[in-house]
């Protein structure tokens, strides 16, 4: 539960439908996300949760529907513009840059804010050097926050999975986003790692006011930390409301317990 007061509707998804060839991944999905809230998207495997996130991010283009962010409506999102608008994301399968170390991966998240041109960088004096240092400071603060100081120069390919997930989060945080899309941030983690991750997510929401949209399978986590929940099943929305409302929803229960469709 966030202690911030929840604001107006910031992200509004309207009637999104997405198909791949003959397969309908999403059918007429609509929901909104309010500023500063933690919104969870849940549902059985294959329900279309990642696809939904991919639509918001611009990775997939939906055949129908629109997405409104801060008053501007789009029928499809462009990845780069999405990043510029302040929407950042982590990935289910981690999309870390394996050839770089932790600092460089998180620094890459600062890319949008680094303005020096090629010539300045080649000479590396004055503005270029100052810029690198200033952003390195920001990245170090993120590293402190995520408690990964000891691994800052390690190539990410060598880190264990749980730490890689933190680097993924760090890179998204480096973008100083207004909205953070988290795709199963706790997948494959044990209890302690999950608790750590929850703490990070809550702190991000609390300290920076970041709005969080979270895909998660662990019901305990979802019920504990989210303000509102959207439930998807077979690409359709079957529930939308507070955790308690959703928990007692008949359709949601049967979807998870597997009644015949």
């Amino acid at each position: 539960m966030s202690r911030r007061s929840i604001g107006e509707v910031m992200l509004d998804v309207k009637n999104i439908s997405l198909s791949f060839g003959g397969v309908k991944a999403l059918t007429d999905i609509s929901f909104n996300v309010r500023e500063h809230e933690i919104r969870a998207i849940i549902g059985p495997n294959g329900a279309g949760k990642s696809s939904m996130l991919n639509c918001i991010n611009g990775v997939y283009t939906p055949q129908q529907g629109s997405i409104t962010f801060r008053g501007k409506t789009f029928d499809h999102m462009n990845s780069r513009e999405v990043a510029e608008m302040g929407i950042a994301r982590t990935f289910q399968n981690l999309a870390l840059f394996k050839g770089m170390n932790v600092i460089d991966n998180i620094m890459s998240g600062r890319n949008l804010k680094m303005k020096t041109n090629i010539f300045q960088q080649a000479l590396r004096i004055g503005a270029a050097e100052r810029e690198e240092q200033a952003h390195r400071e920001v990245v170090e603060r993120i590293i402190d926050f995520l408690e990964i100081q000891a691994w800052r120069k390690t190539p990410v390919a060598r880190l264990p999975y749980g730490l890689q997930k933190r680097v993924d989060l760090g890179r998204a945080l480096a973008m100083e986003p207004q909205v953070l899309l988290l795709d199963e941030p706790m997948a494959g983690m044990n209890i302690e790692e999950k608790q750590d991750m929850c703490r990070f997510v809550l702190d991000v929401n609390d300290q920076f006011g970041t709005t969080i949209v979270l895909i998660e399978h662990d019901m305990g986590v979802v019920m504990d930390i989210s303000d509102r929940v959207v439930v998807l099943d077979y690409g359709k929305k079957i529930g939308d409301g507070t955790p308690d409302e959703v928990r007692s929803n008949e359709e949601v229960i049967s979807a998870y317990l597997g009644t015949s469709h």
């Binding site: 991919n54 990775v59 990935f91 999309a95």
Partner: protein, 309 residues
């Protein structure tokens, strides 16, 4: 009209020869996802083997009968190619299984260099002759329709026929035999194929051997026409645009691509070449390939390339 037809037919037949080399590429790519830059070196290596065996057999064994000598040389050369396939699989491919395409590509570049050097060390680096009895005199067709008739090179015609027969044979092999089916399964998904019991290593040796066979046939034909020399391995560079046009995964594509490139090259040299200073054969094929890469990278018959997050 006469000269145009001559150029056209000449182009078609040259194209067929390119297709022969391109076939080797397609086979290996289809079955293992590896792009074999060394195909050209294989053609040269095979041709060298054939040429030298054909020389050494009469010298060592005293057999003079031409057909017999050629047959024995062919079998020996084929044996060499199979051994080569085994060596490549064991020492190179087998160790690079999980690497990305670019690494494998560069490995085949390394194999190219190695084969070039090794082949010439073992078999020598002079120019050698191959004579398998392909008719060499030109024919004149349709002499009553066109003045002087249309000049058709019989050697190239035989090559074209052989190539076409080879393609039909390979297509049938893929479609109707158990091994062919296994090859197609491996091309589709290595791991799935392995999990149903298809022995990957053996399949790869088979594929490289078949490619070696194709290289041998191509080497004999090209070698018969041009003589066996180092520049033969450069033929591979000509074959690359062919597979781009036809599609890396398509056997008929290699044929169609080869024909288009062969005809295009000849026609452009004759009709556009003079305007640009001549000698544009070098890059015409590549310019065409570039065009396809920008517009339709999978070629005419290839499968669409998808990138997933």
């Amino acid at each position: 009209m006469g000269p145009f037809l001559e150029t056209l037919i000449g182009g078609l037949m040259t194209g067929m020869l390119y297709s022969l080399v391109a076939l080797g590429f397609v086979l290996i790519f289809k079955a293992s996802g590896v792009f074999n830059f060394a195909q050209g070196a294989m053609v040269l290596f095979a041709a060298l083997a054939m040429a030298r065996f054909a020389e050494w057999i009469p010298a060592l064994l005293g057999i003079e009968h031409k057909v017999l000598v050629n047959l024995m040389a062919f079998i020996l050369a084929m044996g060499v190619m199979i051994m080569l396939a085994w060596v490549v699989e064991r020492f190179v491919l087998g160790k690079l299984v999980n690497q990305e395409g670019v690494t494998l590509l560069m490995a085949t570049l390394g194999i190219t260099y190695f084969m070039d050097g090794f082949g010439q060390t073992v078999f020598g680096s002079d120019i050698y002759k191959i004579d398998v009895g392909l008719p060499k005199e030109p024919m004149f067709l349709l002499e009553d329709v066109f003045q002087g008739g249309i000049l058709v090179n019989q050697e190239e015609l035989s090559a074209a026929i052989i190539a076409a027969a080879l393609v039909a044979l390979l297509a049938a092999f893929f479609q109707y035999t158990g091994t062919g089916r296994a090859l197609r399964a491996v091309a589709d998904d290595h791991q799935a194929a392995q999990s149903i019991g298809i022995p990957l290593e053996r399949i790869w040796v088979i594929v490289w051997s078949v490619a070696g066979f194709v290289a041998l046939v191509a080497g004999i034909i090209w070698g018969s026409k041009l003589g066996v020399q180092f520049s033969l391995s450069q033929v591979a560079l000509k074959a690359l645009p062919v597979v781009i046009l036809g599609g890396l995964t398509s056997v008929p594509g290699a044929i169609v691509g080869g024909l288009i490139i062969g005809v295009g090259e000849k026609l452009s040299e004759v009709y556009i070449g003079p305007m640009l200073g001549g000698g544009i054969e070098i890059w015409f094929a590549y310019a065409l390939a570039l065009l396809f890469l920008l517009v339709r990278p999978q070629g005419l018959y290839g499968e669409k390339i998808i990138d997933r997050v």
